[in-house]
Assembly symmetry: C2
Homo-oligomer: 700 residues x 2
């Protein structure tokens, strides 16, 4: 038999863009993917002989490289039961086969009520991706498919079979045999392997992949070819590292300004406000003095070589400034100017000149069009929005937006009582990009959790590679901004038609253990939560509230929306809660604290109830919905701080009901003392849902 290599080469040489079903299946079979028993014939007698050999009933299909969508084009006869029917079918299909330059395929008739689909697609960002989902007409009607980036681990492949919404179909429902998941996983892994081995294989469709007595069988298959592309730009790790960005000893501001409210002034104010302990030099042709610092007329005049330059000059002056800074030893530059490729043609040219300057000098650059970066452990920032002293914390941000150096950071600083370790605004990402920053944060002892807002991946596969490792030790939470529009190109294969950006990103991130979120506010609320509290060990929560309605609604949403369990307590917990409550109320999880509060006071009820629940071995995290009104009492809140400290391994979150002024006071008291609070009663659960997924990723 011809090798796969040869088959593909010959097809390409013949100008084919697709392989026939027969040839496609041959390749699949070579890789151990089970296919139907097929015989290719070109005359009736051979068809009869083939049918006898395979055994009736059989299927007849036109088989040609150009024969796609055979059902729709009426190129197929199913369930042929005998020689008479065979002749009739042959007579109808043979002329069509001749017209398409093909032959007739005699195929065993597979009976199976479960049609799946599997495929391969080369994604512009992530390269070869394997698809799996519900097949037949359901592929289009439900779009219930998932993707993973090749190569797939055994675990990746298995996860695909449980991640589809219709996963139940693979079980033993209605007397059907459960699908052999190992065989199915192997098919998916091998699809990825084909793409890795053969760059000319551009798409693969197996539709349907029918389940026969529990075994998946490829009943129809299509391989789409392309001239092998030059390998994508390599996504190797850059050898330099980012330490000089986050831990500079000497920094120059190029374009320092004495005029308040100008970027070149604000950046100096920020650096001073953050009490930078390294050496700060200012450069401006006007010379003189700004904010008590001498101003050097040019980079050349600086008294010593510098680690980092913050270049706050117009776009057109930026390329030369890079060269000048590099000549003075700068290993890192921050490029603040906008007006590059994001704007117009002239900007595009300036961008090219900037890239050239970076390449020629070997400096590392953030931006251009960045709002700067911040490194609180080094008391340093290059941000030119006047933030003042940024509080130090243990979460770090990678942001393809300026917000985390401007209004969102201001919101965090004034409202949310947590600090940051590192923040980097990516800007146009001409040099430093997210995967490299992620790698830096991964090994950064100051960073306990990583939050990312991205609109595009500069080095998608590299990003996944880095993420896959870091997510085992630190939570990585990502919000992908960008269109949800489904891929609209006309695609030959189903796989390609279903390969929306969004589905592929979903699969890729899941594979890498990155927790994908969709709410902008969760970039803040989850960071606040994770700043103060440990990750929960699992998804089992308890909640205490003064209202059956709140308990019922939140418990419902725990199951329905948040993937959280509200399990039964240990018996000793239940008994303790019962003892502190009036006898007519049956205590359980979730905890109605109103009866105990009316009998024994709000503070006693919440304190005793919460502690009992925190002790319970069945509970991973606790949400307290605290009632504060003048009438029911405004308890001193120290007991909450004490509980959080006494049970440091379990997250404790607080939301409120009652009187606004007391709620504001409680937030202002609790948060600086390490207990996060949330504006709406649903929010702590939204956050716990994210954190439980982080834990799951970590333990995968």
């Amino acid at each position: 038999m011809k090798s796969v290599e040869t088959m593909i080469a010959e097809a390409l040489a013949a100008g084919q863009t697709t392989l026939s079903e027969y040839d496609s299946k041959k390749i699949l079979a070579e890789y151990g993917i089970p296919t139907t028993e097929d015989l290719l014939i070109d005359e009736l007698a051979a068809a009869e002989q083939a049918a006898e050999q395979i055994g009736y009933p059989v299927v007849l299909k036109v088989c040609a490289a150009a024969a796609q969508h055979k059902t729709e084009q009426n190129l197929i006869e199913l369930g042929i039961g005998n020689a008479v029917e065979l002749k009739k079918a042959y007579d109808r299909l043979a002329p069509k086969a001749r017209n398409l330059g093909g032959a007739i395929l005699v195929q065993e008739m597979i009976r199976g009520s479960r049609e799946l689909v599997a495929g391969l697609n080369r994604d512009a960002q992530f390269g070869p991706c394997v698809m799996f989902g519900l097949g037949g007409i359901f592929t289009e009607a439900l779009g219930d498919v998932v993707f993973r980036v090749a190569p797939l681990s055994r675990e990746d492949a298995r996860e695909m079979t449980t991640d589809i919404k219709g996963a139940k179909i693979l079980g033993g429902l209605r007397g059907l045999e459960p699908v052999h998941i190992d065989e199915l996983s192997n098919c998916l892994q091998q699809l990825g392997q084909i793409a890795i081995d053969h760059p000319a294989v551009c798409e693969i469709d197996i539709n349907p992949l029918i389940v026969r007595k529990g075994h998946p069988v490829a009943v129809d298959a299509l391989i789409v070819l392309q001239e092998p592309q030059p390998p994508a730009t390599t996504e190797k790790a850059v050898t330099g590292n980012l330490t000089k960005f986050f831990e500079p000893q000497s920094v120059a501001v190029i374009g320092a300004s004495g005029t308040p409210h100008k970027a070149g002034n604000d950046v100096i104010q920020n650096i001073l406000a953050n009490e930078f302990e390294g050496r700060l030099y200012l450069v401006n042709p006007k010379g003189g003095e700004i904010l008590g610092h001498r101003v050097y007329p040019s980079i050349q005049d600086l008294p010593e070589d510098i680690d980092q330059a913050i270049i706050i000059l117009p776009a057109r002056a930026t390329p030369q400034a890079i060269r000048d800074c590099a000549a003075r030893g700068a290993k890192t530059v921050v490029l603040a100017a906008g007006g590059f490729a994001e704007v117009d043609q002239q900007g595009e040219e300036l961008q090219q000149a900037t890239i050239q300057a970076i390449q020629d000098t070997g400096v590392r650059a953030i931006g251009p069009n960045t709002s700067g970066h911040t490194s609180t452990p080094h008391k340093f920032t290059s941000t030119f929005f006047p933030l003042g002293k940024v509080p130090r914390g243990n979460v770090s941000y990678i942001a393809q937006t300026g917000n985390f150096a401007t209004h969102t950071m201001r919101y965090i600083m004034t409202a949310e009582h947590f600090g940051v370790a590192r923040v980097l605004g990516m800007g146009n990402k001409l040099d430093v990009e997210e995967s490299e920053v992620l790698e830096y944060y991964a090994q950064d002892p100051e960073t306990q959790a990583i939050f990312i807002y991205l609109e595009s991946f500069k080095k998608p596969r590299r990003f996944l590679e880095v993420a896959r490792e870091v997510t085992r030790v630190k939570p990585v939470i990502l919000l992908k901004g960008g269109a949800t529009a489904e891929g609209s190109r006309a695609a030959v294969a189903h796989t390609a038609a279903l390969a929306s950006d969004d589905r592929i990103i979903d699969g890729a991130l899941r594979q890498a253990g990155v927790v994908r979120i969709y709410d902008y506010s969760h970039l803040i609320l989850a960071a606040k939560a994770i700043s103060a509290m440990p990750l929960p060990q699992g998804n089992r929560v308890s909640l205490l509230a003064p209202s059956g309605a709140m308990l019922v609604c939140m418990t419902d949403l725990c199951h329905r929306r948040w993937g959280l369990e509200v399990p039964a307590f240990e018996e000793k917990t239940r008994r303790y809660l019962q003892d502190m409550s009036p006898p007519f109320i049956r205590m359980r999880n979730p905890v109605d604290i109103w009866p105990a509060a009316t009998v024994s006071g709000v503070e006693f009820a919440y304190r005793e109830g919460t502690e009992a629940v925190l002790k319970d071995a069945n509970i991973d995290a606790v949400v307290m919905i605290l009632m504060i009104t003048d009438e029911t009492g405004v308890p001193p809140l120290d007991f909450i701080i004490e509980l959080a400290q006494r049970y440091p391994e379990k997250p404790l979150f607080v939301a409120f009901t009652g009187q606004k002024n007391h709620m504001d006071d409680a937030k202002a008291y609790l948060e600086p003392r390490g207990v996060p609070t949330f504006p709406l009663i649903e929010d702590p659960f939204e956050v716990l849902s994210i954190l439980a997924r982080c834990r799951q990723a970590m333990e995968r």
Copy 2:
């Protein structure tokens, strides 16, 4: 042919709990539901003749009342192509048929790749409900089914065909003929009609309902019978009305107390704080004076007959108090005591005595175990949680929880700057129940929108009947508290197995135009929104924010989660926005206001931008995400109030980014002046999504 009536009667007389497939289909056919061509035979020769008549290929099935789940039990032979195969199949199945006391069904073989399911179930709450969804194994694997309460309108039935997630399957995908929706809708309507005509029909399953060339055909069917039940307790409208509750002229507090912080004292304080203008009488055996009001020792001593009594006595004293009040002319009583059936056996007995007292006297009663009701247009409340003066507004609540008389109302009063018209805490619902209150609110000119929290429906069908009308003129928004657990009883029919409480409530509410929500907080936020702003005319929104990242994320969620469109502007709007912005930024919907704000100031940019957008004919509602920081400027906010007044037909909502103190100030300034603000930037969209659904319900 026997009438349907006779067939059912004979089957019941014979002790059958199910009808055979053959008989079931006969009944379906009588109602115009297309079925396969079936012939019932009991010997081989007849089978051969039947097969000839129907035309090969045929299907052979065992047909008996006890033959269910034929596929699983191997009681079926598909695709029989000739007499030889027929004999083989007959020989296998005939003994099985005999064992089950049945015969053999010869059936045409239906080819069709789309299997649907339709059915009927009698729900304990809502009575007969029709089901529709994806059939075959997908019924169990995906549970993609919807329910509607019978009888179904043509529109109800059509909506079912579009409400399933896999609705695309009914279209013309992959060369298949689109399903004739009229025929399908008719099947669904007729299923409901069967149940209405025949109380003995307990369940119907049509699974599969196969689509042949666009036409639905019942391929297998099962009718489950029951002894006809006595008709459910009638759910007629109660003849009395609730006016005396909401507009009393004279009120007595039975159990008035002079002790502060006791319910019998707080209720008096509340009535006085709300400046009740009717006559207030206090009753307590101790006599004397409370808060300047004379206390009568007994109800008998009251100087005049009363409209309403608020009975704040222990449970055991309540039945007699009802009789005493009725004797003094009271038409309405509010029963505050807890400790009835919700507690124990003794309470259950007291509850019966209370019901007896209500029935004997003909008074109307709220509660017991209610936290009271409030009627701000009449400056009246029976609430005994010390709320003080409740602000008047245009939304009304029906709450099966005390929260809206206690801590949640306190939250609304102190935090959310809106008022209420009527609030009623349902308590144990011994007499007054939600459908009657809904009816009162429906015709209440003070009530513009109705929010409901319910854990159970006392008169489910009556509730739907009332809701169906009121939702055409007023928004009705409902949160159903209660378990999500799927029905767990062992069911013969698929329909019953899929008939979870939740799915049926979903369908019933949708049918009635009630907008179902799941977030407790939305009971507050949506009420705030609707208090101040009109409903949007449709679902087309615009948003303005100082951040591309926010715009991208919110637009994504508009499509992905909220069912909102973010359409293109009219050209004149686009041009206007472009003219006010720097040329390098391409203006469109959503609106990036940052460039204009940095050039022309925050106030100018937001004011001009928002007005342009409010004018746009393509836009139904506008969300402004307002940036306020010291550095970018803290604009005077009058322009927002002015815009809201100038464009009163379009909702304008505000969220913030930036500095917490300014955000708090802005909320405190804007909300009392009629512009709602929201804590997180996602919240205004969550609310708009609810309001757009209200509009849709109104226009159905």
